[in-house]
């Protein structure tokens, strides 16, 4: 199990098993009148068969990419992780802190930590971004954005 595709296919095998299990809890119906479980169960079976096929194909193939190569690519994983944390934080804080504050935090954190910028630039863009987007979406387009504890 050294190749990247073997791991992705293995994950898909587990996923197909989950789909088959979940679908088995639904009425299957019959071939004359298929029930709600009919299509998902067959999709699970086909997915499982294809994933096993992918494992087999990758195992037999010589040129398949090793997982090690994928992990050792010149990738800035830190940036990806930072963006994801900022996105989850935005989703978590939106209803609590309101749109303006959450947007300011999101923009400031992305500008400061992903491609580090001077604080002056960070604060300037984050203030402008949260203010202008509030004006466009809340005031002009009249979209209902969450207010949060400060009422903005």
């Amino acid at each position: 199990m050294k190749k990247a595709d073997q791991w992705s296919a293995l994950f898909l095998v587990f996923l197909s098993a989950f789909i088959c299990w979940g679908s088995s809890l639904l009425p299957y119906g019959n071939i004359h009148d298929p029930g709600p479980g009919f299509l998902p169960v067959w999709l699970g079976i086909i997915l499982g068969a294809m994933s096993l096929g992918l494992i087999l194909k990758t195992t037999m193939e010589k040129g398949s990419r090793p997982l090690k190569n994928l992990l050792e690519e010149e990738v800035r994983w830190g940036r990806v992780l930072l963006v994801l944390i900022a996105l989850f934080l935005f989703a978590y804080l939106l209803d609590i802190a309101g749109f303006v504050i959450t947007t300011f935090i999101l923009l400031a954190s992305l500008l400061r930590f992903v491609y580090p910028q001077p604080w002056k630039t960070v604060i300037g863009w984050a203030l402008a971004g949260s203010g202008v987007s509030y004006f466009i979406f809340e005031v002009w387009m009249k979209l209902r954005l969450p207010k949060g504890f400060l009422g903005i």
């Binding site: 990247a4 898909l12 029930g35 709600p36 992918l54 940036r79 994801l84 500008l111 971004g129």
Partner: protein, 502 residues
């Protein structure tokens, strides 16, 4: 002739001030998206989908269509000046366009790209106007088995033309079909994979999936590596191609238009494939094929014409059969369905304002783009200089606001992020997003058609083979599925492997 009455009626719709503004906004946004590397038309359309919810269905479709064909125009600018295609369909334009720019002929290259796009787009729209009505008549005879077969063919062609492994593309299509089944079952009302979450009862919306898989994952892929853009600094002047340029390009434009329009109609085809195909054919028919790649104007004219004609041709199956031929059309279909309108053969008779309004908006849109593109090229070049580290937080913010405002629910944001992670990981492992999205959109329709077909035939699968149209369609689909086992597909894969590399 009746067709001219329809076109006249369409102009009446599109010339309403609001629709004119939507066509203009769509064309500008599309050009902008096409110009900016790292943001394709699919991502932009998914980001702008929520904005269209408050519009009339006609206005929404006019604007989204404008983004699509506008992006085909804008993509050429970055290909020629920066050697970075703004979107996938402009990859081929880099080959000769950038070389022309290096030889001091950036102006004529940009000019011929705009003119050939305009000519092809206009011919494409004419083709759409004339071909759609007879196709609608044919489609009215289709029943659930034919629809099921057609949708399966669409997915098969898309996976057959996949950038890499066909098996992986098929896996993504199956996963997409599964995601399409989540929610309340349309026939019996049973909950499927909802985990008792009320937000999942109506299924997972197209917008969080599309924004996640195209918007968020594209940004994650862009920030993980360093993007460096070197803009060609030569002074831009003389956008009008000279007489010799026209002589060299005219045949290429017409051939590119024909190829693009035809490939655009085919399910699974589209602007990317047609631009590659037209370049290859142009090289074959040329008297000096060895010069291709060194800055010949035909090498810019043909693919630019093809990708625009394909963009128009792709509307035919979506508007007449209700079947999207590519992922962009799937998004447009999703937009229409959000407005409670089901595209298909009845669209033309039940909603002529939408059908003919859209068709004629493309005539106007193409003219607007020609007027826009040439004088605004220096502005687009300036925009290219906005650093990505300033741009990407705002693209993310736009995605977040867009997805939140659909239902005013944070759950949709979480879904978008999760699909963003899924799309990112899938692309790292060389699994494509396009078959997944197309399958998500087609899934519920396919299930309904399958179940109706089986009820019609009392459980006999032979209904798909015994009905002539369905039988032929299945024959083609099976042939495409089996074909890769017998031929070496590596060359094909190499030609089309462009989109996810962006």
């Amino acid at each position: 002739m009746e067709i001219f009455e329809h076109i006249y009626y369409g102009f009446g719709v599109v010339l309403q001030p609001a629709n004119l503004v939507f066509a203009f906004l769509g064309a500008v946004a599309g050009t902008l998206v096409g110009v900016l590397p790292g943001l394709g038309p699919t991502a932009a359309m998914s980001m702008l989908l929520p904005v269209t919810f408050g519009m009339s269905p006609t206005g929404a479709l006019i604007m989204l269509a404008g983004i699509y064909y506008g992006a085909q125009y804008g993509g050429s600018t970055t290909s020629i000046l920066v050697n970075i295609p703004g979107e996938a369909a402009s990859v081929v334009t880099c080959l000769d366009g950038y070389q022309m720019a290096r030889q001091g002929r950036a102006g004529p290259a940009l000019g011929i790209a705009a003119f050939s796009s305009f000519i092809a787009g206009t011919i494409g729209v004419l083709g759409l106007s004339f071909l759609a009505p007879p196709l609608v008549d044919a489609a009215l005879t289709f029943g659930p088995p034919e629809y099921f077969a057609l949708m399966c063919l669409g997915l098969t062609i898309l996976t057959f033309l996949a950038h890499g492994s066909m098996l992986k593309a098929l896996i993504m299509a199956i996963l997409g079909l599964f995601v399409g089944t989540i929610g309340i079952d349309p026939v019996e009302g049973a909950q499927r994979f909802t985990f008792e979450r009320p937000e999942l009862m109506e299924g997972i919306g197209l917008v969080p999936i599309a924004m996640g898989m195209f918007g968020i994952s594209e940004i994650l892929l862009n920030i993980e590596k360093k993007i460096k853009i070197n803009i060609f600094e030569a002074k831009l002047k003389g956008f009008l191609p000279n007489l010799q340029d026209w002589r060299n390009s005219l045949g290429a434009i017409l051939r590119g238009t024909g190829i693009g329009f035809f490939l655009g109609i085919l399910p699974g085809g589209g602007a990317v494939i047609s631009s590659f195909a037209s370049y290859a054919i142009e090289k074959r028919v040329s008297k000096h094929p060895e010069k291709f790649g060194s800055g010949v104007i035909e090498g810019v004219a043909a693919p630019e014409a093809a990708n625009n004609a394909a963009a128009q041709g792709a509307f035919i199956p979506m508007m007449t059969l209700g079947i999207p031929s590519n992922v962009v059309m799937a998004l447009l279909l999703g937009a229409l369905m959000i407005h409670g309108i089901t595209p298909g053969p009845l669209l033309m008779s039940q909603h002529p304002d939408i059908f003919w309004g859209l068709v004629t908006s493309m005539y106007l849109g193409n003219a607007m783009l020609l007027i826009l593109n040439l004088p605004l090229i220096p502005l687009w070049v300036k925009l290219l200089k906005v650093p990505y580290h300033i741009l990407f937080p705002f693209i993310l913010l736009f995605c977040l606001i867009g997805v939140y405002t659909i239902n005013n629910n944070v759950f949709d944001i979480y879904l978008m992020i999760l699909f963003g992670i899924f799309g990112y990981v899938a692309r790292k492992f060389d699994f494509e997003s396009a078959p997944f999205i197309l399958a998500v959109v087609l899934g519920p329709m396919m299930e309904k058609a399958l179940r109706q077909s089986l009820i019609m035939s009392k459980g006999h699968f032979s209904i798909f083979a015994t009905r002539p149209i369905s039988g032929v369609i299945w024959g083609i689909a099976i042939l495409l599925l089996v074909l890769p086992l017998f031929i070496n597909v590596s060359r094909r894969a190499k030609i089309v492997r462009v989109d996810d590399r962006k």
